[in-house]
């Protein structure tokens, strides 16, 4: 529940690291509540990118010259750092991709297209992001496999009895979102992994909304694959991660072919480079990888347990404030239940897009729409929701500003 205790984080100090938060529109200071879409970037990460280009820029794995060596080492070590951040065994298990979506597609193409066929089943949840839902849907169409969806209950939790019913020996892949980007629900991924493994199925966990916001240990979850994006955790856009268990990555075919991912090539054939490079074809986003490692450092300095508590506290506070108004409908687990740092809502009589546009006049940035979860919105019976999503630099007083701005929108449409 929301409390009046002092904040766990030193918000002032954190905010000072994020220059963009000082932006003003008109005479209003930016209130950035769209962190589930993308988070802002601290000076430390911005400097890392600038320093890389100022001092180290070269292609990796290709040159024997000093710059290339430095860039290669920094880029490789970034994999080690990220592995440590999520509890992976080592760099072999950490593939740098463009984003969560590409991580998902890597497995869908490299494994799904080759291994799935008629009679096989892929089990998703009704709260999947399009990144996983559309991807598996299309792979299923191409392979003849079938997709099934674990139901959610009226509070936006997974129906675990239904999960146990759907996951059978025909299941080859269970692909679930760790924390819902709409409902804020934290799914019991450890339990789902157990069920999947009992039936010799793989489990892919979409951690796009989890890794930025709570401590994540992929080995404790026993995930076979795990994906997330750098731009939702203080990193830059263009860098994402695919974690995979080493023995699976060794067996799996690469998804992209080209330079860097090979050891030996003849006119007839080629052999693949060692992990993780086997899955990183072509020149990667080197500065982005190094900056992601810096973002991990930044977050670890704050402490992921603290981030998690702060986010939950803000979400609970928002739920409490929204509960003061009869015309605000919120989605996801009820107040008091631990959740991710976001709240999706609607104000009766005001379309979410109109709402978002009016909030923009108060320099309050929220997202409105279906948040890449159209089937979930169909299930919720709404075309769109507005979503306020929080991060380490947000405060309760910013939520108060949001609530005041909502009141004005309400007046306008009354």
């Amino acid at each position: 529940m929301a409390t009046t205790e002092p904040d766990i984080l030193d918000i002032e100090a954190i905010r000072a690291d994020f220059p963009i938060l000082e932006r003003e529109f008109g005479d209003q200071q930016l209130v950035y509540l769209d962190n589930a879409a993308t988070t802002q970037t601290p000076d430390q990460v911005i400097d890392t990118i600038a320093d890389y280009y100022r001092e180290m820029n070269a292609n990796v794995h290709r040159g024997l010259h000093q710059l290339s060596q430095e860039a290669s080492i920094a880029y490789e070590e970034a994999h080690d750092r990220v592995a440590e951040f999520i509890g992976a065994g080592g760099r072999e298990e950490v593939i740098f991709t463009k984003n969560t979506t590409e991580s998902m597609n890597t497995v869908a193409y490299a494994w799904g297209l080759n291994e799935l066929g008629p009679g096989d089943e892929v089990v998703l949840t009704e709260m999947e992001h399009h990144a996983s839902l559309v991807t598996w849907q299309q792979i299923a169409k191409r392979t003849g496999a079938e997709v099934k969806y674990i139901r959610i209950d009226e509070d936006g939790r997974l129906d675990m009895d239904h999960a146990r019913e759907l996951i059978t020996d025909d299941t080859e892949m269970v692909s679930v979102v760790h924390v819902s980007n709409v409902l804020g629900t934290i799914n019991p991924v450890e339990e789902l992994a157990d069920i999947a493994h009992d039936h010799d199925s793989y489990i892919f966990v979409d951690g796009a909304q989890a890794v930025p916001n709570r401590p994540v240990d992929v080995e404790a979850i026993d995930a076979d694959f795990y994906a997330f994006s750098g731009h939702k955790m203080c990193g830059p856009t263009g860098i994402g991660v695919l974690y995979g268990k080493q023995h699976i990555l060794e067996e799996m075919e690469p998804y992209l072919y080209g330079g860097d991912m090979i050891t030996k090539v003849t006119f007839e054939d080629a052999t693949w480079n060692e992990l993780p490079w086997k899955y990183e074809a072509g020149t990667p986003i080197i500065a982005g990888g190094i900056a992601l490692a810096e973002a991990a450092d930044y977050l670890d300095d704050i402490g992921m347990e603290n981030v998690e508590r702060h986010e939950n506290e803000l979400a609970q506070y928002a739920l409490d404030r929204f509960a003061e108004f009869d015309d605000i409908e919120v989605f996801g687990p009820p107040a008091g239940e631990h959740r991710g740092g976001l709240v999706s809502f609607n104000v009766e009589g005001v379309h979410a897009h109109d709402l978002s546009e009016i909030l923009n006049d108060y320099a309050v940035a929220v997202r409105a729409g279906d948040h890449c979860t159209q089937p979930l919105h169909d299930k919720l019976g709404v075309a769109a929701t507005a979503r306020a999503s929080f991060y380490i630099y947000n405060t309760k007083s910013e939520i108060d500003t949001l609530v005041e701005a909502l009141d004005d929108a309400r007046q306008l449409f009354a």
Binding site: G26, A352, D354, E357, D361, A383, L412
Partner: protein, 142 residues
């Protein structure tokens, strides 16, 4: 001031949104057509009556659901269309709609604004056999 915002919701738009004109159905319309804007989940269904030589619009009614911009645009367009020559309708474009609305529409919302116009145009073209389409969607940017 914001970057688009409540200016966009000037009295006229809010008035049309809250009290839509020509809302409902027409019995035996010349044609009926439906469209949606998947981004906002806006829908518009429009009934149109043409005169005997099919050159002039005699009646319009619409039903719909969605954001203020899409619904107000449909309401205002339904008034404009009464008595309009069909070739004028065919020539209409997004600038005409933005002029009609009388406010700046942020780029993300243009699709909402033009939904009704596209429904009317597509409905007419389908009726005249110039186009084959079940439903209009404002997916493409135009």
């Amino acid at each position: 001031m914001g970057i688009g915002g409540s200016d966009m919701y000037r009295q006229q738009i809010l008035d049309h949104y809250k009290n839509p004109r020509n809302y409902g159905e027409i019995e035996e319309p010349t044609f009926t057509h439906v469209g949606e804007n998947p981004m906002c989940g806006d829908t518009i269904e429009m009934d149109v009556v043409l005169d005997d030589d099919e050159s002039t619009i005699e009646g319009v009614a619409f039903r719909g659901d969605g954001c203020a911009i899409s619904q107000a645009a449909a309401s205002m367009l339904s008034e404009e269309l009464q008595g309009m020559e069909t070739d004028v309708l065919e020539e209409m474009d997004r600038d005409d709609i933005i002029d009609m609305l009388g406010v700046d529409i942020s780029p993300m919302r243009v699709k909402c604004a033009v939904l009704a116009e596209k429904v009317a145009q597509d409905g007419l073209e389908i009726y005249l056999g110039e186009k084959d389409l079940d439903m209009t969607t404002t997916e493409e940017d135009d």
